[in-house]
Amino acid sequence: MVVKVYGSIRAACPQRVLACLLEFGVDFELINVDLDSNEHKQPEFLQKQPFGQVPVIEDGDFRLFESRAIMRYYARKYADRNPKLYGTTLDEKALVDQWLEVEAHHFNDMVYTIVLQKLVIPKMGGKPDLALVQNCEKKLEKVFDIYEQQLSKNRYLAGDCFTLADLSHLPGIRYLINEAELGHMVKEKKNVNSWWCDISNRVAWKKVMQLME
C-alpha cells in the first residue's frame, strides 16, 4: 500500500517528509493541498490535521502529522533499510534527536519568520517587518557560526554519517538560498558550504527538486 502524503510540493514541511520517504525507499502518492486557496484551513482538511498544517500522511488506516514525527516513525519502521539515518546506537540516535531539535527551534524559527516576512506577507499585499527580518538574519548568522564549529569536528551534524538531522535542514536552506536570496550565509562559511553541497546533492533530495519543477 502506498503512503499518501497530503501537502504542497512547494512547502518546506512536505518536502522534508518526501526526502525522508525517498531515503528509505518508501513509495508514496503526493496529494496536493492548495495553500493559496486556504484548502488547509477548510473543514475537510481539518478532519485530518486539526491545526490546519501540512503535511499529513495516511498509511493504510494509520494517520500521522508533524513532519519530524513522520520522519522518526518511518526511520523506526524501516530502520533495517537505512540504519545510519537515525543512529545505530541509542547514544547516536539521541545526538540525531538533539540536532533535529536544534533545527526545529534555533534554525527553523528564524527561517520561517524570514520567509513569512520577505515572501508570504508581500505576496498577500501586506508590509513586511524589516526590523524583524534583520533581527532574524543576525540570529541565523550566530546559528550558522555554531554549525561551522560543529562541522569542523564532524562531517555531518550528529557525527560521521548523514542523518535525519542534516536532512531536516534541506527545505529551509533551499528557501534561504533561492527565494530569500541569503545564500551568502551558507557560502561564506567553509564547512557549512561543503556540508550543504554534500547533502543537497543526495539522490533523494534531487528527486524532490525534480518534483518541484
Binding site: 491545526f51 500521522l64 508533524e66 522518526r72 516513525y73 523506526r76 539521541a94 534527536d97 538533539q98 527551534h105
Partner: protein, 216 residues
C-alpha cells in the same frame, strides 16, 4: 555514575527532571543562573553552544535539548519505571506527533506569555501587551484543538500517559500559576481533567517540592 542536570530552577530542565523521576533514574543538579547570564559564560557554552538550558552529562556523554534528552532516557530505560513511549511503533508515532505539537504549536505562544509576564522585568526587556494578547489568542486556539482531542482520548497520544503529556508539565505549571491564566485550562472541561490528572502525578509533585522556580 549519576546523571547531572544543569539549570534545575527553570522550566525546560524540569521537563527532563520529571522524566528521570518517572523512569526512576537517579540524578543530581547543577545550578545555572539565567538572570546573571551564567548560561552565556564560555565554560557553559562549551557544554551547550546555544547557551540554552538544559544540558545533561551522563559520564562522558553530553546531551542538550530537553525533548532530545527525554526521548533518550524514555528509550534507554524502556523496561524500568513508567513506559512513556507506548507499546507499538504506531503508538510511538503518535507520541512523537503530540510531542512535536507541544514543541511547535503549544510552546511558542505559551513561552511568549511566560517571558513577557514573568521574565520581562528581571531580564530587562519591555513587556509587550500586544504580544501577550496575540499569544493568548493563539494558545486558546491550540487548547481548543486539545479539548476536542482529549474528549476522545484520555491522554494526547492515546489511553496511556506518555512523553507528549509530560512535556507540557513545566510551562503549563507557569500558565496556571505565575502567568495568572488558569482559566484557559479550567474553562475547558477535558483539558482541565487532563491537567488535573497529569499534574498530580507523584513525579511532578516531587519536582515542585524539591526544585524552586526563579520566583520563589
Amino acid at each position: 555514575m549519576v546523571v547531572k542536570v544543569y539549570g534545575p530552577d527553570y522550566a525546560s530542565p524540569k521537563r527532563v527532571m520529571v522524566c528521570l523521576l518517572e523512569k526512576e533514574i537517579e540524578f543530581e543538579t547543577v545550578p545555572v543562573d539565567l538572570i546573571t547570564g551564567e548560561n552565556r559564560s564560555p565554560e557553559f557554552m562549551k557544554l551547550q553552544p546555544f547557551g540554552s538550558l538544559p544540558v545533561i552529562q551522563d559520564g562522558d556523554y553530553t546531551l542538550f535539548e530537553s525533548r532530545a534528552i527525554i526521548r533518550y532516557y524514555a528509550e534507554k530505560y524502556k523496561s524500568q519505571g513508567t513506559n512513556l513511549l507506548g507499546k507499538t511503533i504506531e503508538d510511538q508515532g503518535l507520541v512523537q506527533q503530540w510531542l512535536e505539537v507541544e514543541a511547535h504549536n503549544y510552546h511558542p505562544p505559551l513561552n511568549n506569555l511566560v517571558l513577557h509576564i514573568l521574565f520581562s522585568s528581571v531580564l530587562g526587556f519591555r513587556r509587550d501587551e500586544q504580544v501577550i494578547k496575540e499569544s493568548e489568542e493563539k494558545l486558546g486556539k491550540v487548547l481548543d484543538v486539545y479539548e476536542d482531542r482529549l474528549s476522545k482520548s484520555r491522554y494526547l497520544a492515546g489511553d496511556f500517559f506518555s512523553l507528549a503529556d509530560l512535556s507540557h508539565l513545566p510551562f503549563t505549571s507557569y500558565l496556571v500559576g505565575g502567568v495568572g491564566k488558569e482559566y484557559m485550562i479550567k474553562e475547558r472541561k477535558h483539558v482541565s481533567g487532563w491537567w488535573d490528572e497529569i499534574s498530580s502525578r507523584p513525579s511532578w509533585q516531587k519536582v515542585l517540592q524539591l526544585f524552586k522556580t526563579p520566583f520563589e
